[in-house]
């Protein structure tokens, strides 16, 4: 027998995990220790290449990794223990699956001989996470571990990105086996995502675009996921064609909010002009979006007169909700590059002056207008002032879920991709605070702000302690209206104003709470206090919890009542009680 003790590739499973992280360029790891991952934590202790960020709850680790991934384009990596550690990860995994965020989650598992015995802190991790991951693995043999870890990184980051779970029993972590660096054969031969778009389809798309009279480009999170080059190409396409462009919540920043062809966000709380343009267009180019129900409204009345082109890397997104005429399967960046080349060579800018004039009429309705108030801070005003105060700073925004999220999307202008982190598909309250931590870990010197609501922030606020421990100077800007605002808005509109359990009684004193955690607490009550307090918040180089008291009963408009068409929007000026009642009549079954 040969002596394997000096073979550098012979190591324990726990050591392989740390080695694989290093081989995949992982610099930061979010996690929480526990019995079934102690061997891995022992390895982490004895090295300095991967920095571990200790959270206060596994859900926080997951969302932090998501924020990290969304702001860098790199995969977010999580390490949690078996049982409750794994089940606490279910929400972030589902969130990442819905929003196509690359996450690699390593979970500890009870030793292989105890699996199935209802052992202490045992759960069927691969069973539980199967529907909320892109793929998952249970590794029973230490000699399979290197291959599985490399495949996990590959699957998470290629094709349509998504979360993966590698479940590693404790005896496999202790066992010694052979490690190998990443290689091509680590991946299932059956996994072959398509990157390049079909040339014939691209030509068909160009022909439609060149002949358009009332075109619109509708872009989504796929453009952000595809990388910075895709956003550049999207901007070039808008420039070359002169077409108007709108975007989903997930796609904000791919085209700059100050760009002259920008219509604003579309969908349920999008601008009037973008939704009307979607409804009345003759050619729609959808890039990296998925015709989600918040976007389409009534599917049978969605953009009835248009030819639709859909670029998406995932064939299952094509024709799922809306039938499209020209599907192009491929990576957004890659397809946009090819499409631009063909357009430049074979087509010229169509004359769409008349269409822009129509859009100008819709724009003039000023759908985001709100009544100014000098007595109380209106939430829209608060976001506008926050946006002003952050100008010139290197800013990243995360949000929780609810009214504040929609106001942030409407009133904060994003000029670049990867600057806006929000839970779009799953709508996870409590996402924003830990996500901000992840962003700040990746961008130590940037200004990272979690625009929060008073209800959402309480779901994961224990992570303020993480911010203090790791000196992550995140700013938690709470629009405090003492309600679960979006729930209350729906109760007002759909449930006869019976505000069932949407009022937050016994809110904590956020300023004292900040103090207790070792953060800085600030408060603004009057509109006149706001600018000064915002300036102070930005100047403080520590975590800040900002309690911004806003008008309690303000609602988020414009709004397409769900199940209605794009041209049935409710604008703020028209949202009288009668109009609202009429718009929502018979609509209690809405979601």
């Amino acid at each position: 027998m040969t002596d394997k003790s000096h073979d550098p590739n012979q190591m324990t499973g726990a050591a392989m995990i740390v080695r694989a992280l290093i081989d995949h360029g992982v610099q930061h790891l979010f996690g929480y220790p526990g019995g079934a991952v102690l061997p891995i934590y022992d390895e982490i202790f004895q090295q300095s290449e991967v920095e571990h960020i200790l959270v206060r709850h596994e859900q926080g680790a997951g969302h932090a990794a998501e924020g990290y991934a969304r702001s860098t384009g790199k995969p977010g990596v999580v390490l949690v223990t078996s049982g409750p550690g794994a089940t606490n990860m279910v929400t972030p995994l589902t969130d990442a699956l819905m929003d196509s965020i690359p996450l690699v989650c390593i979970t500890g598992q009870v030793p292989t001989h105890l699996i199935g015995n209802d052992a202490f802190q045992e759960c069927d991790t691969v069973g539980i996470t199967r529907p909320c991951t892109k793929h998952n693995w249970l590794v029973r043999d230490v000699n399979d571990l290197a291959k599985v870890l490399h495949e996990a990184f590959y699957v998470a980051t290629t094709g349509r990105p998504g979360p993966v779970v590698v479940d590693v029993p404790k005896d496999v972590q202790f066992a010694t086996g052979t490690y190998h660096p990443p290689r091509k054969s680590d991946v299932h031969v059956s996994y072959t995502p398509r990157v390049k778009g079909d040339a014939t389809q691209i030509r068909k798309a160009v022909a439609l675009l060149a002949g358009a009279k009332r075109p619109v480009i509708y872009s989504g999170g796929g453009v952000i996921n595809s990388g910075r080059e895709a956003s550049k190409l999207l901007r070039e396409l808008v420039e070359v064609t002169g077409f108007p462009i709108t975007s989903t919540l997930m796609g904000l920043g791919a085209y700059p909010a100050t760009g002259k062809n920008w219509l604003g966000m579309l969908g349920m709380h999008g601008t009037y002009e973008s939704n009307m343009a979607m409804h009345d267009c003759d050619v729609m180019l959808c890039v990296g979006a998925r015709f989600d129900d918040r976007i389409t409204g009534r599917t049978d009345a969605f953009s009835p007169g248009s030819k639709k082109i859909h670029i998406d890397i995932d064939p299952s997104s094509i024709n799922k909700n809306i039938h499209v005429d020209v599907p192009i399967i491929g990576d957004c960046g890659n397809v946009l590059g090819d499409l631009l080349q063909v357009f430049k060579a074979e087509a010229k800018k169509p004359d769409i002056k008349a269409w822009w004039q129509e859009i100008a009429v819709w724009r003039a309705r000023n759908s985001l207008a709100y009544r100014k108030n000098s007595e109380v801070i209106l939430p829209q005003y608060a976001i506008e002032r926050l946006f002003e105060a952050t100008r010139g700073h290197d800013t990243y925004i995360t949000t929780e879920v609810g009214q504040h999220q929609m106001w942030a999307a409407q009133f904060f202008g994003f000029e670049e991709p990867h600057r806006w982190m929000t839970s779009g598909g799953l709508g996870t309250m409590g996402y924003g605070l830990p996500a901000a931590l992840g962003v700040q870990v990746a961008h130590r010197d940037s200004l990272v702000i979690d625009i929060a609501g008073d209800a959402s922030v309480q779901m994961t606020m224990q992570e303020m302690s993480t911010a203090v421990q790791f000196e992550l100077p995140i700013k938690i800007f709470i629009l405090n209206n003492q309600y679960m605002g979006m729930v209350r808005q729906w109760q007002q509109l759909l449930h006869g104003n019976r505000l069932s359990h949407s009022y937050s009684e016994a809110l904590p004193d956020f300023v004292k709470l900040a103090d207790a955690f070792g953060c800085v607490g600030l408060q603004a009550i009057k509109p006149g206090d706001l600018d000064g307090a915002l300036k102070e918040m930005i100047s403080i180089k520590r975590p800040v919890l900002f309690d911004c008291r806003v008008a309690a009963l303000e609602n988020c408009f414009p709004m397409i009542p769900s199940g209605k068409a794009h041209n049935e929007m409710l604008l703020p000026a028209e949202a009288t009680d009668e109009a609202t009642a009429a718009a929502f009549a018979g609509g209690k079954a809405l979601v």
Binding site: S190, Y191, T299, S316, H323, G563, G587
Partner: protein, 180 residues
């Protein structure tokens, strides 16, 4: 309510549904069947019949044959959703190719005496079913054919003294020299 209330309600347009037979070639690894079945239950698709077995043991490949029903848009979705799973090699819609053979095997237990025994044997002969077990008061028949033929045979056995049936579900393969 004279107008559709929700975007979700609208999904249930009552387009005519079709039955399709899908052949799915997968890596035979732990959990792969759970993934496929979980996809169907999680997304609300129908499974009419499901047959699984390893077909190429050296390459660890299994072939899953699924008979499903849905609108054309849903069938299209099912195929894409299956195809994007990591251990799935290929998905072929056997119904769409129009050149496939489908077979099912059933074992049918019948109990009775006198004329019923004679009648059972005569029907079995007409259907080319074989007797694979016999006692003085019962038979077990083995019958192979498409699902309609198998169902018809079972229906005929019912008044004669049908006890129980075990069916394999549908296996399908394409005609001609090419593989999937």
């Amino acid at each position: 309510m004279n107008q559709p209330a929700s975007a979700y309600f609208l999904e249930e347009r009552h387009d005519p549904t079709e039955s399709h037979t899908l052949s799915v070639l997968v890596q035979n690894e732990p959990g792969v069947l759970a993934r496929v079945i979980g996809l169907f239950s999680g997304r609300g698709y129908n499974i009419e019949s499901l047959t699984v077995s390893e077909t190429e043991s050296q390459k660890h490949l299994s072939r899953i044959t699924i008979v499903t029903t849905g609108t054309p848009m849903v069938i299209e979705q099912i195929k894409h959703q299956l195809d994007r799973m990591v251990p799935v090699y290929r998905v072929v819609d056997m119904t769409l190719t129009g050149r496939s053979i489908e077979r099912e095997l059933a074992m049918v237990k019948v109990r009775g005496g006198g004329d019923n025994r004679v009648e059972a044997l005569r029907l079995a002969d007409a259907f080319r079913a074989r007797v694979i077990d016999a006692t003085t008061e019962s038979f077990v028949f083995e019958i192979t054919g498409n699902s309609a033929k198998v169902s018809q045979f079972i229906d005929l056995m019912r008044p004669i003294g049908l006890v129980e049936v075990s069916r394999t579900g549908v296996a399908a393969i394409g005609r001609g020299p090419e593989g999937m």
